[in-house]
């Protein structure tokens, strides 16, 4: 699967709460950030966790979020960011 997003693209993490093995931390769902880099594509671990092959490979991104947008009571400097590695199927264009 080719990468749908490029560095600099604004993306929003899907607000989804399925049971089972998921690789997107709860705290980052629904938040908007910027693609910092495309890492590579890997068999989907959310499928591999159940013994399936996880193909086609899912592109994995490092996405950068402003800390102030992630934590409602964040009191650090405005320039603070947090990077989260996220699979493409969790992302939508912002």
């Amino acid at each position: 699967m080719t990468a749908a997003f490029s560095p600099g693209d604004r993306v929003t993490v899907r607000r989804a709460y399925p049971p089972g093995h998921v690789r997107t931390p709860y705290y980052i769902r629904g938040k908007t950030g910027v693609v910092e880099r495309v890492l590579d594509a890997f068999p989907n671990p959310e499928e591999r966790a159940y013994g399936r092959d996880g193909l086609p490979c899912q592109p994995l991104y490092r996405v950068r979020f402003p800390q102030g947008a992630v934590w409602p009571d964040y009191s650090g400097p405005d320039a603070d960011t947090v990077d989260v590695e996220l699979y493409q199927h969790w992302l939508e264009p912002a």
Partner: protein, 103 residues
């Protein structure tokens, strides 16, 4: 839903950062997992390991230590895959317990 393990951002107090020397049984569990997940003949993979740990339930997850979680997940995965039966595992564990008593 939020998984038991998915605690980023929750107010849970400070993290215990003290290190401890790994016991032999802990090293053995790590080695066992490396063998089981060897790509040459993958019996189970790390995603299945994680999935099994996340499925322990909050009470067990909090009660068990790091490598106890690993071995519980490994055992459940191997049971499900038919590598051994619950009866075989139960008999083997009883045998080991008996052997330990002799020491």
């Amino acid at each position: 839903m939020r998984g038991t393990h998915d605690i980023g951002g929750l107010t849970l107090g400070s993290i215990d950062r003290t290190e401890h020397a790994l016991a032999l049984w802990e090293k053995r569990i790590h080695a066992l997992m490396l063998l089981l997940s060897d790509p040459a003949k993958e019996v189970m993979n790390v995603h299945e390991l994680r999935c099994g740990i996340e499925a322990l339930g909050e009470k067990e997850y909090d009660r068990l230590s790091y490598y106890e979680r690993w071995i519980t997940s490994i055992a459940n995965n191997l049971l499900r895959k038919g590598v051994f039966t619950a009866d075989e595992l139960g008999r083997k564990l009883a045998e080991v317990e008996e052997r330990e008593k002799q020491l």
